[in-house]
Amino acid sequence: MATPLPTPGVGRTPEPPDAGGACASCALAPEATRLARLGLDPGRYSHVVALAGNPNTGKSTVFNALTGLRQHVGNWAGKTVARAEGGFSYGGVGYRIVDLPGTYSLLSASADEDVARDVLLFGRPDVTVVVVDATRLERNLPLVLQVRQITGRVVVALNLVDEARRHGITVDVRHLARELGVPVVATAARRGEGLPDLLAAIEQVATTDDPPPPLRLVHRDPELERAVATLADQVAARFPTLPNTRWVALRLLEGDPGIEAAVRDGSLGDLAAPPPGTVEAAG
């Protein structure tokens, strides 16, 4: 059984973009012919892909490149406030892709962060693609680390590498991938650069039976670290199959109302089941 993504407390964008056909102008490499853009109609899909990222990192451009949709892309933060959905087929397998609002964190300070966090935590996508801006990595990594604390099913799209190159910035992709424990793909989505690699990485993470465990960040503050460890043990005892106990423990220490509610009504326990994986579901 596939778990449908929950609908958070906001609606869709008032005007859904017109469904477009294949994008003729995108310069995709030949191997990407395995890609079929399904626009707004994902049809039957096997995997759910969530697209997260800071505002203005080219998230919507990646979304458009994958789905063939032409959502308006703006060069400013906060363009996409609601989530948009679309679909594509890669290697004959259907993917549904959810474009989350751009956020700097998942700490649930505003409605858009709530949407992003709820989809990642409760929607349990098969793959979360975090789009980051290669020219300002230090400002993008906090979100990547937070997503990695929740799940190991992550692909990092190091976007805007063309701009980084122009500015003389080089990012060590292999080092980053090693540190994060997940695939990191350099892309320039505006030109279609790196999209074949990104698709391959998405496929690999979506189909693996053995994703890396959620990232464990050790806090230098011994007091805090002790509290987190204690509480994480208790969370693990209460929800034995929950993978991201430390992240949940952190949120509970902060008094995050959304997570507290999920503990109270037991819905956090539902997250313990293995993710939907490769089960076929109707769109």
């Binding site: 032409r70 503050d221 208790q234």
Partner: protein, 470 residues
């Protein structure tokens, strides 16, 4: 059992310092910084980034920033006004003059009853043709230009410049971003206020979004500016003065936004101002062809389609109220007479107010509605059959008709420009406001507050002008 976990969390939290949330975030950012430092090699980065910095030094400067903002927007409007004249004339000749005549002839040839011809050709077709001729050329120029500025990365700089002003008005700095959205479409602007986390500041942003002139209202302003304000100066300066008049209304809108935000945050929506960080994106060379394509498809045609969909039934309504007679006058005649005194007080007239009633669903059709009502009701003009709209060649003729038949003055045009800024949001926006706030009270406030302001400002302007003129 699950509550045990919460109690344990609460117990542990009590053992920790109060700023545990901050410490967690701090620890996260420390890790992020370390990871970024070991992964990024910024060879030569400093030298290349200075272009961005130099641009920002000017465009976000306390003085030069505002000056650059004025010059850029002025340029956009001037280009729109100057560039739209010729294609607008062509569309008039094609759709309104010839198209209308051909259709009338065609209907006459097949022997259609007079009222069918009236309703469909003089009502539905003419209103639709009008909307296209009035709106398409300026939109096809304005939207791509605006989108190019947006893609270049300029809009966040505008937000940055205005941020200080918003902070002083007790509003959230991100309101400047939602305001920018509102310049496209107020419904979209209201939805965009979701990026504001505090409910208080979000309500302020929602209520004031209507003071950003939306797609539907730009054509009215541009047309009024062109045919009335621009006409009082020598032709060589007309374009510049017309653009200046439009800019003046935009600035008035920003002023009203700040004033209303200030008033709300000191009365019914009191509270702390939130702190936030506004990221200035790098300047990116806009991809011109793609921008032209998306702005014409996404914006121009979408807005035009909406206008046409609204104009067709409105055309039928206009024809009906103009031709269905109750007693000695048409329905429109009665309504205009009834609204006349109120219109006079506001320096407008009954026709304009009736047009705003007909055009509640969409601001786009205000000007065509006004002109059609004026012609339907006005004293017979040579060449016009009763109840049939005169075919007008160009913008100047619209002006002539409004002046001679409608009795318009410069005051009417200026007050219409003010009322275009200050009136109730369109029905789509009102629905969106209700959807976002789920509050009948705030939706009502957001709807009636601008209308009330519009009445007060228009009546004041009319009063002052009449006092000085008398």
């Amino acid at each position: 059992m699950s509550t045990d976990l919460l109690e344990e969390a609460a117990r542990l939290r009590r053992g920790l310092p109060d700023d545990v949330g901050d410490r967690i975030v701090e620890s996260l950012y420390t890790d992020a910084t370390r990871l970024a430092e070991t992964s990024v090699d910024r060879d030569g980065a400093a030298s290349r980034l200075t272009v961005d910095r130099a641009l920002d030094r000017v465009l976000t400067h306390r003085v030069w920033g505002f000056l650059a903002m004025g010059v850029l927007f002025f340029g956009v409007f001037w280009f729109t006004i100057a560039g739209a004249a010729v294609p607008s004339d062509l569309l008039y000749v094609l759709l309104v003059e010839n198209g209308h005549a051909w259709l009338r002839d065609g209907f006459a040839a097949v022997g259609a009853p007079w009222w069918v011809t009236g309703l469909l050709v003089d009502g539905v077709y003419l209103a639709t043709a009008w909307v296209i001729a009035v709106m398409l050329p300026p939109m096809a120029i304005f939207f791509p230009l605006f989108t190019l500025l947006e893609d270049f990365g300029y809009l966040p700089r505008v937000a940055f410049n205005l941020d200080r002003l918003f902070a002083r008005a007790g509003a959230h700095g991100k309101q400047s971003l939602t305001m920018m959205m509102g310049y496209g479409c107020n419904a979209a602007g209201v939805t965009a206020t979701r990026i504001i986390d505090s409910r208080r500041e979000r309500l302020i942003a929602i209520i004031t979004n209507n003071f950003s002139i939306c797609n539907g209202r730009w054509p009215t302003l541009i047309l009024m500016g062109t045919i009335f304000v621009g006409a009082v100066v020598p032709p060589a300066l007309a374009g510049l003065v017309a653009a200046g008049a439009v800019i003046a209304v935009v600035i008035l809108g920003i002023g009203v936004t700040l004033a209303v935000s200030w008033a709300l945050s000191r009365t019914v929506l009191r509270g702390e101002s939130s702190v936030y960080s506004l990221e200035l994106p790098p300047y990116r060379p806009p991809r011109v062809l793609r921008t032209l394509w998306t702005s014409i498809i996404d914006r121009t045609f979408k807005v035009l389609r909406r206008a046409v969909v609204m104009a067709a039934p409105a055309g039928a309504v206009i024809w009906l109220v103009g031709n269905v007679h109750l007693g000695d006058a048409s329905v429109a005649g009665h309504l205009v007479t009834a609204l006349g005194p109120l219109g006079w007080v506001m320096g407008l007239n009954g026709v304009i107010l009736l047009a705003y009633l007909v055009a509640v669903p969409a601001n786009e059709i205000i000007i065509p509605t006004i002109v059609m009502l004026t012609l339907t009701l006005g004293a017979p003009v040579a060449g016009a059959a009763p109840g049939v709209m005169l075919d007008l060649g160009d913008d100047a003729q619209i002006g002539t008709v409004l002046v001679t038949t409608g009795g318009w003055t410069l005051l009417t045009a200026v007050n219409l420009m003010i009322f275009t800024l200050l009136h109730h949001p369109c029905s789509t926006t009102v629905l969106t406001i209700w959807h976002e706030t789920r509050s009948v009270r705030w939706t009502t406030v957001a709807t009636l507050l601008p209308l009330g302001l519009g009445f007060v400002v228009c009546a004041s302007v009319a009063g002052v002008v009449r006092l000085l003129g008398a």
